[in-house]
């Protein structure tokens, strides 16, 4: 295992994160963020979401560029399949959040990552969304994430990185805990 930070480079600036943590402990207002997305219907089940601005550190912020995400449904749903299914985007969000956490925790623990890949599987009984059986929920019946990680660390150290990543992950929290959702028509 590597022993000093300058030997380990997962590309995560841990010093900056720790600095932010210290600064925001004394200024909790700055820690209040708001994330935003807009979404526009295209045609059929296709839509396009756009992500650009957000709020944090006490002021309006912007991504360097605008990101767009096309969503649709597969042809077996009688759709045109012009984008990923929204539930697949949820899996992508969870995977990216956990993976960012793996890199950050590994950097903090001075563990060099060589490769990290995750496979996500989520079961769903579509009797729920089709309204066939009201006892079946619309959403996933569970999510399984499988990580393959090559790193300069013991198997238990790698497991601990993945466990800590879940503990600090926002999307993991969003999918494992209830969240109040209000949808209004303006």
């Amino acid at each position: 295992m590597a022993t000093t930070t300058d030997q380990v480079d997962n590309g995560v600036n841990v010093e900056a994160l720790l600095g932010a943590r210290e600064a925001l402990t004394d200024q909790p207002e700055g820690a209040k963020f708001q994330w935003r997305a807009t979404c526009k219907w295209i045609y059929g089940t296709q839509s396009q979401s756009t992500i650009k601005g957000f709020y944090g550190l006490g002021s309006e912020q912007e991504h360097k560029t605008e990101f767009t995400f096309d969503a649709d449904h597969p042809e077996i749903f009688a759709s045109e399949d012009k984008g990923a299914t929204p539930v697949e985007m949820v899996l992508a969000g969870l995977a990216s959040c956990l993976t960012a956490g793996v890199a950050s925790v590994a950097q903090r623990r001075e563990i060099q990552l060589k490769s990290v890949s995750a496979t996500l599987e989520a079961g769903m009984d579509i009797q729920g969304i089709l309204g066939i059986d009201s006892d079946v929920r619309n959403g996933f019946d569970g999510i399984k994430v499988t990580y393959h990680i090559d790193a300069d660390a013991t198997p238990d150290e790698i497991k601990a990185i993945v466990a800590q990543s879940q503990k600090r992950s926002a999307v993991y929290d969003v999918v494992t805990n209830p969240t109040n959702v209000t949808v209004e028509v303006a």
Binding site: D141, K159, A160, Y172, T176, P178
Partner: protein, 416 residues
């Protein structure tokens, strides 16, 4: 009334401080809202025993001399032990004196009580970490028919209605209560958030013996990586039973207790639980194994490998494949909810601006940010053992030394 130092609270920590002040001939009084060992007398359940072995309750001027060093004191024995300590050290305790306010007064402090006021140059807050049960906000949303009990009011299963019990919290308190309540015939569901699994006995020795001998408990507050985190870790899942039972989640599920995730929300009489149970158990298993690794490493370095049993590891915590995420609290299956969700200190009487945004006293190893004010008997105050009876001695020695220097310094400053 005037004295040099007022100690607030006559539990083990306040008494240890009193002894150290006496050794330094520092004039002081110990104010106690009730009687010596008050919380032990009034806020503990019947079957509770100390989680630390008898030999480990060392206090300044006292070591265990009984014939059961590895036993665990019952509550009456604990109360007797602390009362006798107060007598042996002739602590100047003024009991039945409730402090109603502490404020800055010139170079010192003014302490108001329901038995008159005190003026002092230094004050030691030894009121403990566990004054008020921390009950999550979701408690307010529980159906009215559900009885809610906090650990300071819990005595034994007999006080609970027959029927199902939801115990929220799986640290030392929650697991012990879940064990005895389930055994009484009231089926228990245990809501599990962050917790720390630990064996009572490892390689033939008590876990506290290992942690003491290997220096884990002496680790200092200025040596750990993240002291805020260290001060907030939950208590080890331990019990002090005569049969040295391990009360981990596997032992509870083995007797029929159902595990469920951290309680997240209550809506329309239904409780919702987090899907994070597998990871909470994984984190805890990994953490326990790291502790056991460090013990094994220390045992080898110390040449103990032939003198103790060989190393081994415990079965991973078993979690069912899809634990339920929701529970109907209005169908009568659950009659009682026990909030084993921790405690917080009560500083409502403290009128000196020393609290942080979380309501904790800002301090450096027990020296509060207000000069002449000290804190003792809190988790990881100066060392990992600071919250244990056994930790009060070293902390009291250090802090009484600091306090004495402060008195000398402020006297000199006043003369110059």
């Amino acid at each position: 009334m005037r004295t040099t130092t007022v100690v607030i609270g006559a539990g083990h920590a306040g008494l240890a401080m009193s002894q150290c002040l006496s050794e330094r001939s520092i004039d002081h009084v110990v104010l106690e809202r009730g009687e010596v060992a008050n919380s032990w007398k009034t806020e503990r359940w019947d079957s509770l025993r100390l989680l630390t072995p008898n030999w480990q309750s060392r206090l300044p001027g006292h070591t265990y001399e009984g014939d059961e060093p590895d036993g665990f004191r019952s509550m009456p024995e604990t109360i007797d032990f602390i009362e006798r300590y107060a007598e042996v050290i002739s602590a100047p305790v003024q009991s039945h004196t409730r402090v109603t306010s502490v404020r800055r007064n010139g170079e010192g402090y003014k302490i108001e009580t329901d038995q008159g006021n005190w003026h002092c140059r230094t004050v030691v807050i030894a009121t403990g970490a566990c004054n008020v049960p921390s009950v999550p906000a979701v408690a307010e949303a529980l159906p009215a028919a559900i009885e809610q009990v906090t650990p300071d009011r819990y005595r034994n299963p007999g006080q609970l209605e027959e029927g199902g019990v939801l115990v929220v919290g799986a640290s030392a308190t929650g697991t012990q209560i879940a064990h005895e309540v389930h055994r009484s015939g009231r089926p228990v569901t245990l809501a599990v958030g962050e917790h720390i699994r630990a064996p009572r006995v490892y390689r033939g020795r008590d876990i506290k013996w290992w942690m003491d001998a290997a220096g884990v408990l002496d680790q200092r507050y200025d040596e750990v990586d993240d002291i805020v985190r260290a001060r907030n870790v939950p208590s080890l899942q331990l019990a002090g039973s005569p049969e040295r039972r391990m009360v981990d989640l596997n032992s509870l599920t083995g007797m029929g207790v159902k595990l469920i995730g951290r309680m997240a929300h209550v809506h329309n009489g239904k409780a919702q639980f987090s899907g994070s149970l597998p990871n909470q158990c994984m984190l805890s298993d990994l953490k326990m194994n790291r502790l056991l690794d460090s013990i094994d490493e220390w045992a080898t370095e110390s040449g103990l490998d032939d003198k103790v049993e060989p190393p081994h590891r415990f079965e991973p915590t078993e979690v069912e494949a899809s634990p339920p995420l929701e529970m109907d609290l209005s169908n009568g299956a659950i009659r009682t909810v026990i909030w084993a969700t921790g405690f917080r200190p009560d500083y409502s009487w403290l009128e000196v601006p020393v609290l942080d945004h979380k309501g904790c006293i800002r301090h450096d190893g027990g020296a509060a940010v207000s000069p002449g004010m000290y804190l003792i008997g809190m988790p990881f105050l100066r060392r990992r053992k600071s919250s244990l009876i056994d930790g009060a001695g070293d902390d009291a020695r250090d802090l009484s030394c600091h306090l004495a220097s402060y008195l000398n310094w402020s006297s000199a400053a006043a003369l110059s």
